[in-house]
């Protein structure tokens, strides 16, 4: 896949002296869904804000489809739709007016059919003549998405799109996102909900303290960093791990009724066969066993901790 957005050595130090981004480089591919994961204050929003033109970078460059975001801002910004994190909407305007305004602002001729299509997709059609201030939080979020899509962007940034959003909107939103991706739109979303990244993203980047910790295909990331655990339900309670089993990464749990073995799926040998044979030598019998794979969340937590 082609690189659509190329971020090179991007740094941002705010006037307060806070270094929000430290020499960040990353490539975003055409047509992908990239999730940027990170705790609050990690620099996700700053990164997006720079690409969209809201924040000036301190150093480094961003190239979107071959155009520099500062020198060629008209070209790059026209391609980008942004759904901000905060519910920043007009108050007195109608839904229809504010979405139409966005389209004009991004240089597109008015096209009521397109606006109608977006509003219908986002279940906003029956609210089109309502004042925005009369809408619920979830509806306002939909309005922000509609505004971002009003000018038919090729790139869509969703900054914490599901913060404070109900299940229904979340579903609607992911449907819209998937449909957009099918039509060729590149989607970048930030979140600190790992399930979200797990559910929708193809690649996952982890940001912590202004640095990209890792950026990988979701499956590869989980594979690479994912640890598997083998849990053995013991027939008899064991007080301590026998000496001859010290070489394994073992842990007793459930008060000695369970033995948990952690292993790396990428290793040449998982060591399971040897462990089972050594267990039987040690006279430990088990009645059941199962394996679990660590979720993205656990991977994320371990990555962020390492960085700390």
């Amino acid at each position: 896949m082609n690189t659509l957005i190329s971020v090179a050595n991007l740094s941002k130090t705010y006037a307060s002296g806070f270094r929000a981004l430290k020499d960040v480089s990353l490539d975003i591919r055409q047509g992908e869904i990239l999730a940027l994961l990170g705790p609050n204050g990690a620099g996700k929003t700053t990164l997006i804000s720079i690409i969209c033109g809201i924040v000036n970078p301190t150093s480094g460059s961003v190239i979107v489809a071959g155009h520099d975001i500062i020198a060629d801002y008209r070209k790059t910004r026209a391609m980008i739709g942004l759904v901000p994190q905060e519910l920043t909407t007009d108050a007195f305007e109608t839904v229809w007016a504010t979405v139409s305004f966005s389209r004009g602002l991004f240089g597109k001729k008015s096209n009521p059919d397109h606006i109608e299509k977006i509003l219908k997709e986002l279940s906003l059609w029956d609210k089109k003549d309502s004042k925005i201030m009369d809408l619920s939080g979830g509806m306002k979020r939909r309005v922000l998405i509609a505004k971002a899509l009003s000018h038919e962007p090729e790139i869509l940034f969703l900054d914490e799109p599901t913060a404070g959003v109900d299940v229904e909107l979340r579903k609607d939103m992911w449907n819209v996102v998937r449909a957009l991706q099918k039509s060729g739109v590149t989607i970048i979303l930030t979140t600190h909900y790992i399930e979200e990244a797990e559910e929708i993203a193809e690649r996952v980047g982890v940001i912590n303290k202004g640095e990209i910790v890792v950026i990988e295909e979701k499956a590869a990331l989980m594979n690479k960093l994912g640890k598997k655990q083998l849990t053995l339900e013991l027939q008899q309670t064991v007080q301590s791990i026998p000496a001859q089993l010290r070489g394994y990464d073992l842990e007793l749990s459930a008060g000695g009724d369970q033995l948990v073995y952690t292993y790396d799926t990428q290793a040449e040998r998982t060591g399971i066969t040897a462990l089972l044979s050594d267990l039987s030598d040690a006279g430990i019998k088990f009645k059941d066993l199962h394996t679990t794979q660590s979720s993205l969340e656990e991977i994320f937590v371990s990555l962020v901790k390492e960085g700390a």
Partner: protein
């Protein structure tokens, strides 16, 4: 040039005026009518005429300027301050629009509203006193220049303000006194010589004087001086706006 964007901003801002019709149009017309009743009738019965013009007619240009200045500033400052306040300015900053286009949209709309208001007040005045416009082209020119200049000034205030109080303070504390002391309701020739000289430092005097000249060919200062002063002020505002966008002052982090 992103014409669509300028149109979108302009339309959006004009729509705001229709929504707040009472505040934008009705209230200035009402207050102007009150000035006519109070100043025109009460004081006008004592001061019958100034430079051969009946007092009621004499104050018309000053009254229009009073509304033009305050409304230009109020409209333009609120227009750009409100997106900053609500946070919707993110959209403006992320849009493919140049600074010039942003200013054109906001200031253009604010100036348009002021000009419409100016004409409405002129028409209202026509109900109360006889009017005479000797130089209609110059009258319109002064109206346009003043509206644009003070809308730009309002835009600057809107960017500078970080609270509603700051938004109000310049119009209330500086502009209104300057207009009242700038010869809206009198000719500076009526003042003692010392205060005449002091008044010459009041920039609003030049606006009112030039504007009044286009009506009655009477002026406190030469019309060329008026024109030069307002052009100077326009250029100064443009320079500040240019600087604001260049540095991102109060707008961009």
């Amino acid at each position: 040039m992103n014409i669509q964007a300028v149109k979108a901003i302009y339309k959006f801002e004009m729509a705001r005026a229709w929504r707040t019709l009472f505040q934008s149009i009705v209230s200035p017309v009402l207050s102007t009518s009150l000035y006519f009743v109070v100043f025109g009738s009460a004081i006008g019965s004592r001061i019958t005429e100034i430079d051969g013009i009946s007092y009621g007619s004499f104050i018309v240009p000053g009254l229009i300027m009073l509304s033009l200045l305050t409304e230009s500033i109020a409209n333009a400052s609120f227009g750009i301050y409100f997106p900053k306040f609500t946070g919707t300015i993110y959209e403006l900053l992320s849009a493919p629009v140049s600074h010039f286009e942003i200013v054109l949209g906001y200031v253009g709309a604010a100036a348009t509203k002021s000009m419409i208001l100016g004409f409405i007040i002129l028409a209202t005045a026509g109900f109360f006193v006889p009017l005479q416009i000797m130089h209609p082209v110059w009258m319109v020119a002064f109206l346009v220049l003043t509206s644009v200049t003070f809308s730009l000034f309002g835009f600057i205030i809107g960017i500078w303000a970080d609270g509603f109080e700051k938004l109000q303070i310049i119009p209330m504390v500086i502009i209104t006194p300057l207009v009242f002391l700038g010869g809206s309701f009198y000719s500076i020739n009526m003042l003692p010589p010392f205060w005449q000289n002091v008044t010459l430092f009041n920039p609003v005097l030049y606006l009112i004087s030039g504007f009044r000249w286009s009506f009655y060919e009477i002026a406190d200062v030469r019309v060329e001086t008026s024109l030069a002063m307002i052009s100077f002020f326009l250029a100064a505002c443009m320079l500040v706006v240019w600087w604001i966008f260049k540095t991102g002052y109060q707008v961009k982090k």
